[in-house]
Amino acid sequence: MNTTSVMIVGVGGQGSLLASKLLGRLLVDSGYDVKVSEVHGMSQRGGSVVTYVRFGEKVYSPIITEGEADIIISFEKLEAARYAKFLKKDGKTIVNTQQIDPMPVIIGAAKYPENVLFELENKGVCVEALDALSLAETAGSSKAVNIVLMGRAAKYFGIPYESWITAIENTVAERFIEMNKKAFDLGYNS
């Protein structure tokens, strides 16, 4: 089979490392060859962060370049727009509608574009937007945005629901398992 390429993008501190840990575990347990590439260090301090996840029969490169991603899971609107050029022509982007202003916008040196998701849709990108922050809060913690988004993306991986739940149980700390399962379900059923 061909390699599937998934990107997780967002703002440093939003919890993308847990999302990639969950995906990695899930894909290994499902029998795939997997590569997950993360960013550590300076850009984690509120900067734009990206994680590449690739799986298939045999995966060589750990990174994804323009026009290659099957799915982009974005924790923030502007980041969805920033990385849209990495999507394949028929690629799909799952976006948390949260807006986090970057410093150039805060200090008035740049403007936060208003209709970026609409622009992408107009160009034929399949955009699935959801308010993952509210769903995460419903599940019990604003920090569960990552798992809500995983829930929403799950159906595009062709991996059974039960395997996702097992991966959550194997990845998150025990006292957060129930809350994260709830967050996953809220995303899954959204």
Binding site: V36, S37, S61, P104, P113
Partner: protein
């Protein structure tokens, strides 16, 4: 056991399974996790050293005593450890010794893009370079055998994409950690001229023997797929070549970039019509191939700058570009910045407000350079703020002594700030040094250091008393301020700049990201009182923005540090 590991975790597992006894390192992206993972093993000694030179020398001592030892550092850390490295090449080892060094092409978290393969060549030390986590594990483990067999330290070169990419690792048997006998051997271990002069020819013989090893498929491998295109490559570039070209090209994969094979390259070159070298950063393999008189395409097609990818390779070989779409709107950049409540911000605000020249250093606080604070004038390397300030003041004396400071973090001060401070006291400039003490090594992800009172395992440890240390180094004026208190900070800075002797201001407050630091309730803006003067926005706090003509505080980010309400002339923030 089969497990998904980042390259650095695989290196740790490989070193451990290779019989490691002692590891000493200084954190640095992208190398930090090697030692963090090693610290989880209870039956070996792991530690954070104050700097890479100390770490490398600790590993030397452990090797001398008969243990298998290692140290890990980022590429620029090897500059600091270069002194022991070059002579370790002469002494060789007793227990096997591995020096892990992680390069950062594209500078994800670094101040330069240096290629550490030059160190291997210059110090005549063999270097291994894995291309994924499995090889990181295998090479780390084998490095100990190589080290002991050839009586040499071994460099293990990582890069960001290998260090921080997870791939599947099948671990193997653990070699038990054994302590070899220590036998006094002055001719081998005392490197004074009479002894060193006899060691140098041994080093050259060793290199010749290692070239013979390089000719085998122990670390370098050949995949013959095509007689048209031949590619010599290594590390992550190998992955990009395989991804882009699959079986369309023959590949000589270099797993040991120093010393490089000769016959293997000649044979490979003779079997293909056109030969390419694809390597990130400098043309190290390419120059070697050219020196053999072989025609090769390298840096004219594959840049000396930054990172490669599969599309770099695809483009070079004229493969079709993949179509993509993008939004029409301009997407504003999202650079990294200091966190909401970061204790560095208050001090930087005071420096920026008073238009003070600030020579900076390496750490989270380098982010004081970005707008709107733009509070820094230079950042060079670990410790250069303090020694640089002394030179700056020597050149211009009173003109700058009264309006220039050095800013340096607690960990960086321990790393190589102390010696610069001694120099300020000894050679007498009226310099003012600000130690931004956030009680942790921040940027690399919260490692303990000698000022925190805890060791790598989080156990209580000796704690350096920074005030007493600065006094002992010859500075009489040492004062401590809380960077959340702007008025006190400003008074301290003005007074210490005015005084005609060297001084140190310790700006002390723990990093807000530390679990031990509890956030206060979020502050909020009283829209009726806010006069839209935007004074609070000059702090560059990510929690403060301007919405509907008034300042607005994001309650999910604000930690209630209270710095902004000290700026508000209208008492609108509470």
């Amino acid at each position: 056991m089969k497990k998904l590991m980042i390259g650095n975790q695989a290196v740790a597992a490989g070193l451990y399974d290779g019989g490691l006894g002692v590891v000493s390192s200084y954190p640095g992206t992208p190398s930090t996790e090697i030692t963090e993972f090693l610290s989880k093993y209870e039956d070996i000694h792991s530690e954070w050293a104050p700097n890479e030179k100390v770490a490398c020398e600790v590993a030397f001592g452990a090797s001398l005593a008969g243990a298998r030892s290692a140290c890990a550092m980022k590429h620029v850390g090897l500059n600091v450890a270069a002194d022991p490295l070059f002579t370790l090449s002469y002494t060789g080892v007793n227990g096997g010794m591995v020096i892990c060094v992680a390069d950062d092409p594209a500078m994800h978290s670094s101040q330069n893009e240096q290629d550490s393969r030059h160190y291997a060549i210059a110090s005549k030390v063999p270097m291994l370079e894995p291309a994924d986590s499995q090889e990181a594990y295998d090479f780390a483990k084998k490095a100990f055998e190589l080290s002991e067999k050839y009586d040499t330290p071994v460099l293990l070169r990582m890069c960001t994409r290998i260090a921080h990419s997870q791939s599947i690792v099948q671990t193997g048997e653990k070699t038990p950690a054994v302590l070899k006998d220590y036998v006094k051997n002055p001719a081998k271990y005392i490197m004074m001229p009479g002894n060193a002069i006899k060691r140098h020819p041994i080093v050259e013989e060793r290199t010749a023997a290692l070239v013979e090893l390089a000719e085998t498929e122990e670390f370098n491998t050949v995949e013959m797929n095509s007689d048209e295109i031949g590619i010599i490559t290594s590390g992550c570039s190998y992955l990009y070549v395989k991804e882009a070209l699959g079986d369309k090209a023959s590949i000589l994969k270099i797993g040991m970039p120093n010393p490089l094979p000769v016959q293997m390259i000649k044979d490979f070159a003779s079997k293909v019509k056109k030969l390419y070298v694809i390597e990130e950063l400098d043309p190290v393999i390419e120059n070697h191939v050219k020196a053999l008189g072989i025609e090769v395409v390298g840096k004219e097609l594959f840049s000396i700058l930054g990172e490669f990818s599969q599309s770099t390779v695809a483009k070079a070989f004229g493969l079709e570009e993949k179509p993509s779409v993008s939004a029409d709107s301009e997407i504003p950049a999202r650079p990294p910045m200091m966190c909401a409540g970061c204790p560095h911000r208050g001090m930087y605000y005071v420096l920026a407000k008073n238009k003070i020249t600030a020579l900076g250093d390496i750490g989270c606080y380098t982010l004081g350079a970005v707008p709107p604070l733009s509070a820094l004038d230079s950042t060079l390397c670990m410790g250069a703020s303090i020694s640089g300030l002394h030179g700056f003041n020597l050149a211009r004396r009173a003109e700058t002594e009264q309006k220039s400071v050095a800013v340096i973090g607690d960990s960086t001060f321990m790393h190589s700030g102390m010696t610069g401070l001694v120099n300020i006291a000894y050679n007498a400039t009226n310099s003012t040094v600000i130690i931004l003490d956030n009680s942790i090594t921040g940027m690399t992800g919260h490692q303990q250091n000698p000022t925190t009172g805890y060791n790598i395992k989080g156990d209580p440890a000796a704690k350096v008393d920074l005030e007493a240390l600065c006094k002992a180094l010859g500075i009489n004026r040492v004062r401590v301020v809380d960077p959340y208190d702007l008025k006190t900070c400003e008074t301290a800075v003005k007074e210490e700049l005015a005084v005609e002797e060297p001084s140190v201001i310790i700006s002390r407050r723990p990093c807000v990201l530390l679990k031990s630091v509890k956030a206060k309730p979020s502050l909020a803006v009283d829209k009726d009182k806010c006069k839209s003067c935007k004074k609070c926005m000059t702090l560059g706090c990510p929690a403060i923005s301007f919405k509907d003509g008034k300042a607005h505080i994001d309650n999910t980010l604000c930690v209630g540090c209270g710095v902004c309400n000290q700026l508000c002339a209208f008492d609108a923030i509470n």
